[in-house]
Amino acid sequence: MSDAHVGEKMDAKRLRAASRNGAIALSGREVRRVTKLWTQTILPPVISAILFMAVFGGALGGQLRQVSSIPYLWFILPGLLVMVVAGQAYANASTSLFQARNEGYIDDVLSSPLRPAEIVWSYMVGGLYRGWISAAAVAIAAIPFVPGIEQWFLALVVLMLTGIIFSALGVMTGIWADSFDQQAFVATLIISPLALLGGVFYNVDTLAEPWRTLTLLNPIYYLVDAERAGVTGLHDSAVWLSVAIAAIVAVVVTMLAIRMFSRGKRLRP
């Protein structure tokens, strides 16, 4: 490589390998950004989740000692993990991409031979990393207060799917948004309400209508319910059906994000 031009005589196989190298580099840059800015990216959601645990599990926990026959803190932990992963994966992917667009330095990626799928996936990796690191910190903080995790594999699969879905949505918002206001709009008016009304803090069976039906129509509820099955063994819906639907949604939103990037309407005039 040292004296040769990179593109010269590059066959398809080498081009693919080179492209993979580039995608790994871009993913690494995104992960590094999260780590470098940890006081802005990781610390705030961890503090928020710990405060939720302190207020709902500690301060109010005395009055809400048991929900569905398990300690309240254990009951809310799965929902908090889903909320943290969803919120952070979304925030990272949308902010990083929007910032790169807004400040113009996305040009170095757009002018590279990386494929749209590789670029989208790299931005998603940053979101997944931020979501999972934040969730891991929350889980570690919860160790003294909860009995344990019932099904590790299920719990991790649900958090992985949550991360994929919301980082892909973040990429789509990062492409679509024309201003910080638009970017914040989706997080504040769509993601946060859906997360808070997704059965994180309550058992859906205790709700009156129409709140019960509204909760059942909320896609985040199924992620929370499946995660609750993984963490506590307790669930309301068919767990593997929820996981299967989440997997399909993850594939669909990732493909939509790639398609949106390929069309490039807001990226390339």
């Binding site: 031009h5 593109g7 080179a18 190298n21 040009d107 170095d108």
Partner: protein
């Protein structure tokens, strides 16, 4: 696979671009940059230079079949075409979360270089552009001239066969500008890099370029060597010929 020795570095034929809002930018534009050539693209602001450069580099959408880089279609075979192109855009946009050295090495890696190669090449370029003591500095802490040099270095990290420099010396002081001229001349002779340069400094184009194309309202209105342009449109300097063409004394007379 085209033979890079035979095909032009850049071949543009009948390229038209109208933005989504209806703004026309390019109107049937055609020209060629020969392999190993140093080609100047001159024109007033808004004439379509940056749109053209954006299309070549993949930053602006265009239909396939009109732009070829060393024989590779810049749209339908964009990945191969892009590995051959290095772009220093007019606007200085650098990732503020990276250091100067990282700006270069990450860029090389996006183009497929191995990490160690990219870092070695970044060190070489930091020395070549007199930025070695700024390797660990973030772009927003560099002066305007330093940022401009970093941008040019970034365009060259992956050793492109075609370097596109969009007003690379804008805002750069005279001494640095002359150093850059020497570097570009060396780049061309030692590495046979083809160069497409846009500039508003006509003495720069006169000193560096073999061929020049003049663009106005999205069309090439005159092209040739400096001597041909001066002979045809009036001299004694390139500036006189340029003004003749742009003031409409001569309307669209390719040499």
């Amino acid at each position: 696979m085209p033979d890079h020795g035979q095909v032009p570095a850049l071949s543009i034929s009948d390229l038209t671009k109208v933005y989504d809002d209806g703004t026309p930018a390019l109107d049937g534009l055609s020209f060629t940059v020969s392999a190993g050539g140093f080609h100047g693209l001159l024109g007033p602001n808004g004439s379509g230079k940056s749109t053209l450069i954006g299309i070549i580099a993949g930053l602006v959408r265009a239909p396939p079949g009109h732009v070829r880089v060393f024989g590779h279609d810049a749209v339908s075979d964009q990945r191969r075409a892009r590995t051959l192109v290095g772009l220093a855009p007019q606007e200085v946009h650098l990732d503020r979360f990276l250091t100067a050295s990282e700006v270069l090495s990450y860029h090389g890696r996006y183009f497929g270089m191995a990490k160690a190669d990219a870092e070695r090449r970044a060190d070489e370029l930091l020395v070549a552009f007199d930025l070695e003591d700024k390797a660990g500095t973030r772009p927003n802490r560099l002066s305007g001239g330093m940022r401009r040099r970093l941008l040019i270095a970034r365009a060259l990290v992956h050793r492109p066969r075609l370097a596109i420099l969009d007003e690379p010396t804008a805002g750069v002081d005279l001494e640095l500008r002359q150093d850059l001229w020497k570097y570009l001349a060396r780049l061309r002779t030692e590495q046979q890099t083809s160069i497409l340069l846009t500039t508003h400094y006509l003495e720069e184009a006169e000193a560096l370029c073999d061929d020049i194309s003049m663009i106005r309202r999205g069309r090439i209105v005159a092209s040739g060597t400096v001597k041909q342009l001066v002979d045809r449109f009036g001299g004694p300097r390139l500036e006189d010929a340029y003004l003749s063409v742009m003031r409409g004394v001569v309307d669209e007379v390719p040499v």
